[in-house]
Symmetry: C2
Subunit: 244 residues, 2 copies
């Protein structure tokens, strides 16, 4: 099946978690808003979003067309794709657990976004800089460490003596861990320099994921959009000023 | 099966979406942190959270013990309970859709919380009042209307000519709609006085849910914790000052 992913064409954002899963699996997919032509581009995405043609339109991107299904919400999409892309174990407990971890990743992503937009997504960053500085201090000092230590604990605590978040086999949540480390390194390099020694298993997992053939090829390709300051992970040095 | 729900004992919070589903279904459950005795109370919840006894501890409450399973993340719990409590349709597309809507409810809840804690959950509200006022203006003026109009569209747009969010039959997402309307009325009464005429189907659904025998009995019981200013929905009149 050819999947159709709908997401903003100029950022990694939430869509990136889905792109990474599709790329790792070597799935056939179209990143619709990044294509040109009839039924493609941002206009095609907006038409579905505004819902005039759908009984059940999504609230926001990303969303995925999978045959007759149109699925929104990042974690929901990954949950659907997981078994189909062989990126989730079969046991019910493991599937619930993978989804639970991905929902925790979503919670972290919301908090990353809030570091540059604490007051309103309708204002520019420079219009809420003072509030952003305070929010970022809370994030880098408390929340990010909490999340990273939690994820680290999953790797060091799992009883199989390995390797991936769910145990012996790679799952989509490992790809999400890669993206979290990659994004936080871009946005908060000083914080990560300080925190990385505290979460060595997570850092080692990140390195291992980056070397997987399909992921390495993807990261080197033009399909991987560079981080930038319209994205969720943004590098504003003043947001970690004075911290090291 | 007797379910065990773990959530803060003095607020509705995120746990309330699960309580409503369990109550509507007449399920046998224990609200563990609200009970006394061995293995109960907040201490029992914290012990599981801190994870010394679990290989896969949750990141935060709520979480649910269902036999051998321990499931966290509100939407994940509801997705698991849905078919078991007969609160989700069987078709895959409908289950994905219900979950997608619940994840959108979670997004809304995050934004409600941000109206009183835009800068840090580690500061008191009164320490971030000015920022809260700006965030609340964005929420009441733009985000809440967007979410409510979206949900209204699901009710008026569904082709079965009815009644519930997914069509002909009640599902857990209807209970979540009840809770959203109830909470927003408590927190932002002026906003709701203004918005309710724009979302009549949602308001009518709320009234219908409130009258269901099990829900009405629950709301009248001491099991329903009153809204209060430690909760997610908080009534701070100054946050909608000057708006009507």
């Amino acid at each position: 099946m050819r999947y159709e992913l709908f997401y903003w064409p100029s950022i990694q954002g939430r869509g990136e978690f889905i792109r990474l899963a599709l790329e790792e699996a070597g799935a056939d997919y179209l990143d619709v808003a990044r294509e040109r032509g009839r039924g493609r581009g941002v206009a095609a995405m907006m038409q579905l979003l505004r819902g005039s043609t759908l009984a059940r339109p999504p609230f926001a991107p990303p969303f995925l067309k999978a045959g007759q299904l149109l699925i929104a919400q990042t974690a929901n999409i990954l949950q659907h794709l997981g078994p189909r892309l062989r990126l989730t174990p079969q046991a019910e407990a493991s599937r619930l657990w993978a989804h639970q971890l991905q929902l925790t990743v979503e919670d972290l992503i919301v908090e990353v976004h809030a570091t540059h937009h604490p007051l309103s997504s309708d204002l520019y960053y420079y219009e809420q800089k003072a509030a952003a500085r305070r929010r970022a201090r809370y994030f880098t000092g408390q929340r990010a460490p909490q999340f990273l230590h939690y994820f680290e604990g999953m790797l060091t605590g799992n009883q199989t003596g390995v390797a991936y978040m769910l145990g012996r086999r790679l799952s989509y949540i490992d790809l999400s861990m890669f993206q979290i480390v990659e994004g936080l390194r871009y946005a908060f390099p000083k914080m990560m320099a300080r925190l990385e020694p505290e979460v060595p298993a997570l850092i080692e997992l990140h390195a291992r994921i980056a070397q997987r053939p399909n992921i390495a090829a993807y990261l080197a390709s033009p399909r991987r959009i560079p981080f930038n300051e319209d994205d969720i992970f943004r590098h504003y040095p003043e947001l970690e000023k004075g911290r090291s």
